[in-house]
Amino acid sequence: MATTTCEIAPANPVEQFLRTDRIPHIWCPGCGIGTSVNCFTRALIELDADLDKIAVVSGIGCSGRVAGYLKLDSFHTTHGRAIPFATGLKLARPELTVVVYSGDGDLFAIGGNHFIHAARRNIDLKVICINNFIYGMTGGQVAPTTPVSAIATTTPFGSFEPPFNLPQLAEAAGATFVARWTTYHVRQLTRTIKEMLKRKGFSFIEVLSPCPTLFQRRNKQGDGLAAMKMYKQLSKTRNGAPTAETAIEQGKPIIVGKFVDIERPSYLGSMEQMLSSRLGDRYVHVENLEWH
């Protein structure tokens, strides 16, 4: 009798990017953060990226945990400060592709000032913002992105603060690449992440993502699947849309796509140009400031 061999299921192609010894992860069923990580890692595969030269920096919160699950040089910093940490990392070691992966509260409430200044300077950082409209890790408090009238634990009768329109904010501050997708748009998101990783300059992708546990439950919006259906139904792709028209408002379509893609001198490029023109031969250019 011939022996039969069982074919072992091939490993998930993104497994090589994950710290599998840290699984199970902390994210809830239906959460979109994992979907975005899948898109990010698939973008790395498709780019055939040098994984030793990619660093991921996160702040604090559910999305802040991304750094901890990625098997790359990864830094889980303090609340709101992923961008200034990433700025120091990039300026000390320009050879790295530095990705900032964090949430809407982290990047735009406590970290808002750092975001606008890094965008203004055009530091070559790739910022992926998971926007779930709420503070998830701390239990569902109002965020700078929470829609008006939505229930949060600290706005128990409905939020009455106007939220930020993140693409408009990013463009106004100087971001050279601005896009928005939802976790329903996995192919588009993967493609846009690829595009972002290949280019230079301060780049920003907002990823609308379900939070069934702490946002949707209180706002009677169902589970993760319901959010996917809602994204599918309400999203309207408008590449190149003026960011002033991308605010998320009740009863209106969610505008997704790539809105901004321009070139502007980078911080490091401008620094080198200024110093070498003013100092001539006295200027000492060192690429990576590695201490030996």
Binding site: K53, G68, S74, P84, N113, H114, V284, L289
Partner: protein
């Protein structure tokens, strides 16, 4: 130890203030990255760095605030640089967040605080030494720290190199506690040739990635480091973590980590602490001081000796970790300690704690804004000698 990179060493005799001498010390120590935010009376340190670094080979960035400066340097260190930031009182308060992160992640770096009068905006242009307990306890959580206090521009140069060396040796942020008078005082500063400056190299691992654990230690309690981009694909977090650097949310991991972070400093206190001692063997009264106040105290000690009093001098070059054993030993054989400082009694509490009732401890408080008059200190020495 290795010798300094000559590119950063401005060998020669200079007539510069303490702030600028500090910059030269940092450059000589190998700092090639600084991030700062303007604040009186410390700004001259980064102004000089911004002017000097393009011809040495490195980068400076003026960040949007001190929260950003104090974490940008940590990013730079993990990217491979030696890095520092500079501030004064209000900015030092903002930096406490990342002092904690640097302690927790064991990131070697130097934070310079040119102290002014506080709290809050206080006295921006006038001296104080009232951040000494903040230096010890400013971050939340339990930890040990190293803090040095220079008394002259020459020491601003010499000790900033020491600060970097200690930070690399023990992988701990080192606080460089200057004050406005030392920072703005101009004196002769001798910068030696690079080959005479000893540098403690970064403790980079030689292990291959598959054998390396970011927070594993053997023997001396200080783990080996790697930089981003070296191929180790490591993880660093401000959360309590295990040897792999992974979050570990349990009391056992907390106990193991926090004890090691404390023990690596406490068990090496003898190697870390530098004191200037003079006339202690025959002293009835010992004046304990640091920073600019030590120079005023010197005059008071001389005046007291001229009156026939037996006065010893103990200057805390290292303020943290506190020289507990030294104070205990002295307390058993001297009559009293006199502790002048530009605050209403901070380090004097440590002296009292260590003296434990075996000798009198007399504070010479000053709320800041100027230095003491020597006579104020002399008066208390005379009282102590009675």
């Amino acid at each position: 130890m290795i010798t300094a990179d000559p590119k950063g060493v401005l060998t020669g005799a200079h007539f510069i203030d303490g702030d600028q001498a500090c910059t030269e010390g940092c450059l000589a120590a190998g700092a090639r990255f600084a991030a700062g935010y303007p604040i009186t009376p410390s700004t001259e340190v980064v102004e000089r760095f911004a002017r000097r670094i393009p011809t040495v080979g490195g980068r400076f960035i003026q960040m949007e605030d001190e929260l950003a400066s104090s974490i940008a340097i940590l990013g730079a260190v993990w990217g491979g640089a030696k890095a520092f930031t500079v501030t004064s009182g209000p900015g030092f308060s903002l930096m406490m967040e990342h002092l904690g992160l640097a302690v927790m992640t064991e990131t070697p770096c130097v934070i310079v605080n040119v102290q002014r009068g506080g709290p809050s905006t206080g006295l921006p242009t006038l001296p104080g030494q009232a951040d000494m307990m903040q230096a010890r306890w400013g971050s939340h959580g339990d930890y040990e720290i190293i803090a040095l206090s220079p008394q002259s521009p020459q020491e601003c140069f010499d000790l900033s190199i020491t600060a970097f060396n200690l930070s690399e040796q023990f992988r701990v942020p080192v606080l460089f506690m200057m004050d406005e008078v030392v920072g703005h005082m101009t004196e002769k500063v001798i910068i030696p040739p690079a080959e005479e400056i000893e540098i403690y190299p970064r403790r980079l691992t030689v292990k291959p990635p598959e054998e390396y654990l970011p927070y594993a230690v053997d023997g001396d309690l200080v783990p080996e480091m790697v930089h981003a981009g070296m191929g180790y694909r490591f993880h660093i977090t401000g959360l309590t973590h295990d040897e792999r650097g992974y979050p570990a949310m349990n009391p056992e991991a907390q106990d193991k980590l926090i004890r090691r972070l404390k023990d690596k400093i406490l068990e090496n206190a003898d190697r870390i602490i530098t004191l200037e001692e003079e006339g202690l063997d025959s002293a009835d009264v010992v004046v304990v001081s640091y920073g600019i106040t030590a120079r005023v105290a010197q005059r008071a000690i001389e005046l007291a000796r001229a009156k026939g009093l037996k006065v010893g001098k103990l200057r805390l070059v290292t303020v943290w970790p506190f020289p507990e054993q030294k104070i205990r030993d002295l307390a058993g054989r001297v009559r009293a300690f006199v502790v002048p400082e530009l605050n209403l009694g901070q380090i004097v509490r440590e002296v009292e704690r260590c003296a434990a009732g075996q000798a009198r401890v007399i504070s010479v408080p000053h709320a800041g804004g100027s230095v003491h008059r020597p006579e104020q200190i002399l008066e208390r020495i005379e009282e102590a000698a009675k």
